[in-house]
């Protein structure tokens, strides 16, 4: 088994793999939801170590990738205004909007700053009372609680020049949309461990039951992924479909109650467009009306933006597991990390970037399935 020596505990990895090989009797398709897991899988060649019958399909779990173009364009528009200090996590800098990105906005004179934490942006607002400080609040259930707390703090401390451009997304509705698609091939899920650290596992039993699909909460280290696959395959072979926590060291069944309470106070569930995929009902959060003063969408009028996606980019199909990145015609030619057409090539968690970075260029560029959007 090639590369297995790279594993932190090669002996344990071998045992897990042996067990998977011994268990599998039929083909199974599993989706790993989290982009961090995708990178771990490609980087360690886990997909190649698994039996041929076990296929890993990459899911939509990269927050940078799924942030809708319209929101990126709003960010670019707000960041260009002279009175604004625009704060963002670093991995949004090169995500293409219509025609440009935040990196270029800064080159054109916009005051764009990278922060490690949303609280850093709040501090910048305190230090610059005569400027408008806007934080770009994107991400899944792991990032939403920090952002919620920051808005709460802004209100509590009366920091009036701080607002947030919010585009948060939620995993369970995405799983539901994927499973509801007539073309769905997914038979089991490796759920995103850190999302569950916050949210717990309470949202999953209903999904597992309704779609008769095993959902295994999985971390993103190589051994975690092997263990997640092992447990999912076991269930499938036995005809079971339950929720199983393979990441118990970081996931309690109830998640983090304090974080969940704050989410409920600051945000409200809303329909959200996912870049390349389309609108998924109830799949996102926006600031609740109570916090409207800190909502950048209300503070800055950024309506009427016209967005344009590059026609060649098929990231929507990649994000739904209908197409592997190297099956996209632009992959590695028109589209590279240097000249990205889609966010999935930019983000450090994007599936296209993972394939490019780890030189999966040698894969045959054959399209294996008919691809139709989920929603």
């Amino acid at each position: 088994m090639k590369y297995i020596d790279e594993f932190q505990d090669p002996e344990l990895a071998r045992r897990l793999l042996d067990d998977i090989h011994a268990t599998v009797t039929r083909p199974w398709a599993l989706m790993e939801v989290c982009g961090g897991q995708t990178h771990s899988i490609i980087r360690h060649g886990i997909d190649q170590l698994l039996p041929d019958q076990v296929e890993l399909i990459h899911g939509p779990g990269c927050p940078v990738c799924v942030t809708p173009l319209e929101v990126i364009d709003k960010a670019l528009e707000i960041a260009s205004r002279p009175q604004v200090i625009f704060c963002s996590f670093g991995d949004m800098l090169r995500v293409p909007g219509t025609g440009r990105d935040l990196f270029q906005v800064r080159g054109e004179g916009g005051d764009v700053r990278v922060v490690y934490s949303p609280l850093d942006a709040l501090r910048i607002a305190q230090q610059n009372p005569d400027r408008e400080v806007v934080f770009f609040g994107i991400g899944f259930e792991t990032t939403a609680p920090p952002n919620a707390m920051t808005v709460h703090q802004a209100r509590k401390l009366g920091i009036a020049n701080f607002s947030m451009l919010v585009s948060h997304v939620r995993v369970p509705p995405a799983i539901e949309a994927i499973m509801s698609s007539p073309n769905c091939r997914v038979q089991g899920f490796l759920a995103a461990g850190h999302v569950c650290s916050v949210m717990g596992v309470g949202e999953y039993p209903e999904l597992a039951e309704r779609f008769r699909v095993p959902i295994v909460v999985t971390g993103f280290e190589p051994l975690d992924i092997l263990e997640g696959v092992r447990r999912a395959v076991r269930q499938l072979e036995r005809g079971e479909h339950t929720v199983d926590n393979a990441y118990a060291r970081a996931v309690r069944p109830e998640g983090n109650p304090a974080a969940r309470a704050m989410l409920e106070d600051v945000f409200e569930v809303t329909d959200r467009a996912w870049r390349g995929i389309g609108v998924i009902p109830d799949s996102g959060w926006r600031l609740s009306s109570k916090y409207r003063d800190h909502d950048a969408e209300y503070r800055f009028s950024v309506d009427g933006i016209r967005t344009e996606e590059p026609a060649e980019c098929r990231s929507g199909e990649v994000l739904q597991g209908l197409l592997k990145p190297h099956e996209c015609e632009a992959f590695g030619t028109l589209c590279t990390p240097r000249t990205p057409l889609g966010a999935t090539m930019v983000s450090s968690e994007g599936a296209c970037a993972a394939y490019y970075l780890y030189r999966r260029l040698d894969m045959p560029a054959t399209k294996t399935r008919e691809a139709t959007p989920v929603v």
Binding site: G36, T143, P145, P146, A258
Partner: protein, 102 residues
């Protein structure tokens, strides 16, 4: 960005009515908000995401994960200078990564 990194609490203080800690991530020290894990103590480990402690972790798992992240360059990705990375990408240097021979 979605990466959550384990860190060890070095000390804790109250600031603006908020419980804050300095946390060591295998050598990089950052300020972290403890509002979501209010009973976390000095010396304990937690998973930290964008400056917030989200869940407790035992020392052994934390150490292993940190070592692995350091080895994979993920700590650099999380705490390095994103402007440099963005500028390098825009200037045309491809991400450097070892090519694996099949």
């Amino acid at each position: 960005m979605c990466l959550a990194v384990p860190g060890r609490v070095l000390d804790i203080e109250e600031r603006d009515g908020t419980r804050m800690a300095t946390v060591d991530f295998g050598g990089v020290v950052k300020e972290v908000c403890l509002e979501y894990l209010p009973d976390l103590q000095v010396g304990e480990y937690a998973i930290v995401h964008v400056g917030f402690a989200l869940q407790r972790l035992d020392e052994e798992s934390a150490r292993q994960t940190l070592e692995l992240f350091a080895e994979l360059g993920l700590l650099q990705e999380e705490f390095g200078d994103p402007w440099e990375t963005a500028a390098a990408e825009a200037a045309g240097s491809e991400p450097v990564e070892e090519v694996r021979n099949q």
